[in-house]
Symmetry: C2
Subunit: 295 residues, 2 copies
């Protein structure tokens, strides 16, 4: 049985056919139709679905379902995109709009949640009952798995791991509060801190730190310490079996993860710490997770 997964971002829409083993058997992508309305976005989803089905030799009506990962908040019924700033969607009843066009069951989900679900089904969190994916990019987001299933907050409004206070009263965060995890642990923050020293982006900071540059090492060490404290928040509250780190900075691999584990061990109340690993699915997580939203 094949399922459709759509990963809608402010730049691109990725679409794929996902099989029972959570493998993407065919995929495609198009630029997000900026400046057009949600109906045009739904039309584009249908066009992408038809392309995938045609290329793969299957009928759209024979697909099991379609899942759509959205970079924003979804209402508790899973019908309406409440706010997705990068898409310009506000109170858009997008599930129905997509279902009307695709003619198969459609499920909406937050993109960070979808990625966590994908990692649990087929990636770095596979087999875990309690696990967290923390994605570090422009912002910091993540998803929580409890009892092997996606946990969308006790009120089904989502979770906001990037907006847990880390330094209460500290740096301004995009959400309006001061001192959130996101304002210390995002790749953006590492870039901004690196800029006055001549580093172009987070990757440049990390590369220079690897090469032994003192300024870069200092920035990177502070970043690791802050990320360690962020993980301590998650661990002292949930103590998941495993935490996967996703997003661009996870490409630093053990250069990031080894000192991060040491920092967490130093601060952790428990004798042992959860496993801390690199996310496994990369950009595929969105499509795979979206397709898995019907489970």
């Amino acid at each position: 049985m094949l399922r459709l997964g759509f990963d809608i971002g402010g730049t691109n829409i990725a679409a794929g056919l996902v099989d029972d083993q959570y493998r993407i058997v065919r995929q495609t992508a198009r630029p997000f139709p900026k400046g057009q309305d949600a109906g045009a976005v739904a039309d584009l989803l249908l066009a992408l679905a038809q392309t995938l089905c045609s290329e793969h030799g299957v009928a759209l009506r024979d697909l099991n379902s379609a899942g759509i990962a959205i970079p924003g908040s979804i209402d508790t019924q899973g019908e309406t995109v409440l706010d997705a700033y990068n898409l310009g969607f506000h109170n858009v009843p997008f599930r129905g709009m997509a279902a009307g066009r695709l003619g198969i069951p459609v499920f909406l989900g937050n993109d960070a949640n979808a990625a966590a679900l994908a990692e649990q089904r087929a990636g770095a969190l596979k087999g875990c009952k309690t696990a967290v994916l923390l994605t570090i990019g422009t912002g910091v987001g993540g998803g929580i798995i409890i009892d092997g299933e996606l946990f969308n907050g006790g009120r089904n409004c989502g979770v906001e791991l990037g907006h847990i206070p880390l330094y209460t009263g500290g740096r301004p965060c995009s959400c309006g509060n001061l001192g959130c995890i996101e304002s210390y642990c995002s790749a953006t923050r590492l870039r901004v801190d690196g800029e006055p020293l001549g580093f172009a982006d987070a990757k440049a900071v990390i590369d220079a730190a690897k090469a032994g540059n003192r300024d870069a090492m200092r920035l990177f060490d502070a970043f690791v310490g802050d990320l360690g404290s962020a993980l301590i928040s998650i661990i002292h509250l949930l103590d998941p079996e495993r935490i996967a780190i996703g997003g661009g900075v996870c490409h630093a691999g053990e250069f990031l993860l080894a000192p991060l584990r040491q920092d967490v061990q130093k601060k952790c109340f428990f004798a042992t710490i959860p496993q801390i690993v690199r996310a496994g699915l990369g950009n595929d997580a969105g499509i795979v997770g979206a397709a898995s939203l019907n489970e």
Copy 2:
């Protein structure tokens, strides 16, 4: 069916018979036998059980089970008290010791967890599927309910709500880290902050704030703000339906809860906030929760 509940503290051991409706039908207490070994504590539990049964006209062997709430950490099998500093227990296989004496099934649990379970079964969290009890006393502790049941951390090692970073790098905490929730939001902290100004304890600060004393109001406002940020950590990660505040400071009632809700509303990512209420069971929570540990 009656169950036994024991609430063991460093000062007193409280014991009670609890019925199917989570009511304590008979209770008693004795001083904790300081300086004696764990065997003496287990002997005392048997003596308390015999007293309760005798007074209530029931046979100990006819009781359903006994639960023991411990102020410390329990191993994942529920057999051994790993560390309970106030009791002087370290790696004590206390479940077996108690079961050998009582002759009925015995269950061990952390006291903060037991209190949360009691509140969910019969108190301020009754009927909630996802809820948190935060107890503010000498330290800050708490328990988490997920899907209507106690959540003891993904690795079954417990949760440590008091040791979530609030001001990373801030005030020293008893756990060795800097800036934990406990080092800002405990009653102890309010007392210490009040002492140089002439306030004897947390209650004195709160009473003076109620009476309009400027110094006390300033301390209390800061305390409410920090507690609000602590709740934001819990809300942005778990977003429970309801949070109950327990411990001595909850006697402040709406004088604490009303500004606390306002502070949380101001900082919360979600449009609405979880219910924030006063814990309902007071000191009974330990016995009721201990008796409920077998569910």
